[in-house]
């Protein structure tokens, strides 16, 4: 009886440590292996955010969104990640797509592109992160 209790405690302990290690080292979520929750034109996504940010947040925040559009600019951020800006109908606003580490678009400004990424929200741009190339 005593032996059994010890065994159970021992197993629980090992499982606990194992789970702790797993949680601690859990890899970052990226868009690559996730199916997009929505697929639309970059300009359409931007318009939805600029018309009603609260509704758009409910619809897209934290979800993987696939956008297609024309590249206006490609930049590298301070962390060394590639940022691709997609054209919208707005003068200033874009859909900004920051790629995952070691990933890039292999594209150039002016090209049409399809990208998916996790939606962080809306500032001047609609912000997508952990992006990967769809086509």
């Amino acid at each position: 009886m005593k032996k059994n209790i010890l065994l159970v405690v021992g197993v629980l302990f090992v499982v606990g440590i194992g789970y702790g290690l797993y949680a601690w080292n859990k890899p970052k979520r990226t868009s690559e292996d996730e199916k997009p929750a929505a697929a639309l034109e970059a300009a359409d996504l931007f318009q939805q955010f600029s018309e009603n940010e609260t509704n758009a947040n409910t619809a897209y925040l934290n979800k993987v969104v696939e956008v297609s559009g024309k590249i206006t600019l490609i930049d590298t951020d301070a962390a060394g990640l590639e940022v691709v800006y997609l054209e919208t109908a707005d003068m200033l606003g874009t859909v900004s797509c920051t790629f995952s580490k070691d990933k890039n678009s292999n594209a150039s400004p002016g090209q049409e592109i399809k990208i998916k990424g996790i939606c962080d929200g809306f500032l001047t741009d609609v912000v997508l992160k952990e992006c990967s190339l769809v086509q």
Binding site: A23, W24, N25, K26, P27, K28, R29, N57, L61, N62, D75, D77, A78, A79, L81, V83, M91, L92, S96, T98, D120, G121, F122, L123, T124, D125, V127, K129
Partner: protein, 184 residues
């Protein structure tokens, strides 16, 4: 000849700043740093926006809470879900004004210390704060930076007792931006 071109280029660049009514960045930096004996926690956000209205000294900074990148995915999850509740409050904003605008000359190279006072909103709570800011003008380019501290509890952020010793009572916030002319 080369010198003339360089001088001319410098003049044109300087001139563009002189004429600029609004300076802007969509890739400003916001840093989060918590230092305790137990552990150091750091996060970076390279996607903050800032708009500076040169004539009035009005400055607006906004950042998305979900754009803070932590070293550990688990920390990032806790930051978003338990503390900042970023689904409910996706944005952090600062809307303020340079107090000593007359002392900052955006058309002349130099380093200008300033005080900026305004409303800091995070986690749905708005507080009036005054922070130290440094504006640097060099070769027609303006950069600005600031470092200040926030107390999580003042913004209704509850930190459970079990981890209270792991998170600093005052979180250091760093802001840095390279501003460009906002063309409309």
């Amino acid at each position: 000849m080369k010198k003339i071109i360089i001088t001319l280029t410098a003049l044109i660049c300087t001139a563009s700043v002189i004429n600029a009514q609004k300076l802007f960045s969509r890739a400003a930096y916001l840093g989060f740093y918590s230092n305790t004996k137990m552990e150091d926690i750091k996060a970076d956000n390279n996607k903050a926006n800032v708009v500076l209205d040169v004539p009035t000294g009005a400055i607006e900074i906004s950042g998305l809470v979900k754009s803070f990148e932590f070293e550990k995915a688990l920390m990032q999850e806790h930051f978003n879900e338990n503390y900042m509740e970023s689904d409910k409050f996706p944005k952090t904003t600062f809307k303020g004004k340079i107090d000593n605008l007359a002392a900052v000359n955006f058309t002349k190279d130099g380093t200008y210390n300033s005080k900026v006072t305004g409303d800091l909103t995070m986690h749905g709570v708005t507080k009036k704060v005054t922070v130290d800011g440094i504006f640097k003008v060099a070769q027609g380019k303006v950069t600005c930076e600031s470092k200040f501290f926030v107390v999580p509890e003042e913004y209704n952020i509850t930190i459970p007792n079990t981890v209270r010793d792991n998170i600093a009572s005052k979180i250091e916030i760093t802001f840095k931006a390279n501003l460009e002319e906002l063309k409309k």
